[in-house]
Amino acid sequence: MDSLGRRKFLTGAVLGTTAATVVGASTMGSFAPEAAAGQRRPLDVEAGAHDPNFIEGRITGLRKGMLMVTSSDRSMHRIHLTGATSVWKLRPTSSDAAKVGDGLYARGVRMPDGTLAADAVWLNIVNLQVHITSIGRNVMHLDHHGDRIVGHVVAGTTAAVYNSTPAVSDLSLLQVGKHAQVIGAWRPDTNEVDLATVYAAA
């Protein structure tokens, strides 16, 4: 099934417009937190320990379905991507968006051969606590602990969250001089980021 066909099929399944094989509601309910109370899972990783199922680094090579990554401690890793791996690069996207030089964080399951079967890959994602130093046309200049960062507004994607209210596309309430938290996609080897979400106390 192509991706459009799959989308149509899934739409029908959730909105009940087509008959699809759907896992029963009882299966879901049994996994609700109340049901799981008292049967806490054992810790996957000890406090303070290195997490074997998580990789931080930059892409040094691409092969079909596989990312070659060098971590900042110079260790090398292979990350296996499948159709069930989510890939984020400013927005949810496909594995084709991965480029050599991209920074990444990946979470998955470490296989016996040392590769990471990835559940989720976040490309170039940054989370910065900043002060807004100036605002220009579709651009915000940010101060990140004394370093200058240029934040680009991407029409249709950049959202603002003011005082924990629902995200909106209207950025006009952002103020020069105020602090903000920025989730964005770093443009490799620059001090520029494309803005995904800006959290601000308006």
Partner: protein
């Protein structure tokens, strides 16, 4: 009025958490360093706590949001789970943060449950074990 309960003791409390990078890293994380405790790593189960020392407290000021946080120093272990999740992780203090007083009163909710004020920051490894990095903030339950 009753004094606010001490946070950071054995009893679980709810709070907001975000994520931060530390140790060697790419992009804007490159300048992050090992944090206030010197050993912080993005790929390890570490966290930042707003009251690790007097100097730390002077910057984060959780008291301005009405939170009475206990002094917990480098290496202390917290157990953290998503407010609507089932997986609990263990994290060790490796840095000072977040700057709680910048976000007093901020709230994150899930399925009718809400948590107020930023009292904890997690490394990407820890945060992504119970949430998604693309969401910059999530509600959690913390116990010591």
């Amino acid at each position: 009025m009753a004094a606010p309960p001490d946070v950071g003791a054995m009893a679980p409390t709810t709070a907001e958490t975000s994520w931060f990078c530390c140790g060697a890293g790419w992009g804007p994380c490159g300048s992050a360093g090992g944090g206030a405790c010197g050993n912080c790593q993005s790929g390890s189960r570490h966290c930042a706590w707003p009251n690790t020392s007097d100097a730390c407290f002077d910057i984060t000021r959780p008291d301005r949001c009405g939170d009475n946080l206990l002094r917990r120093t480098c290496g202390h272990t917290f157990y953290v789970e998503h407010l609507c999740g089932t997986t609990e992780i263990a994290v060790q203090i490796a840095d000072c943060g977040p700057q709680t007083d910048l976000w007093c009163g901020e709230q994150s909710c899930c399925s009718g449950n809400c948590a107020t004020n930023r009292l904890l920051d997690l490394t990407p490894s820890a945060y992504s074990a119970i949430g998604n990095l693309s969401s910059g903030i999530m509600p959690v339950r913390i116990r010591s």
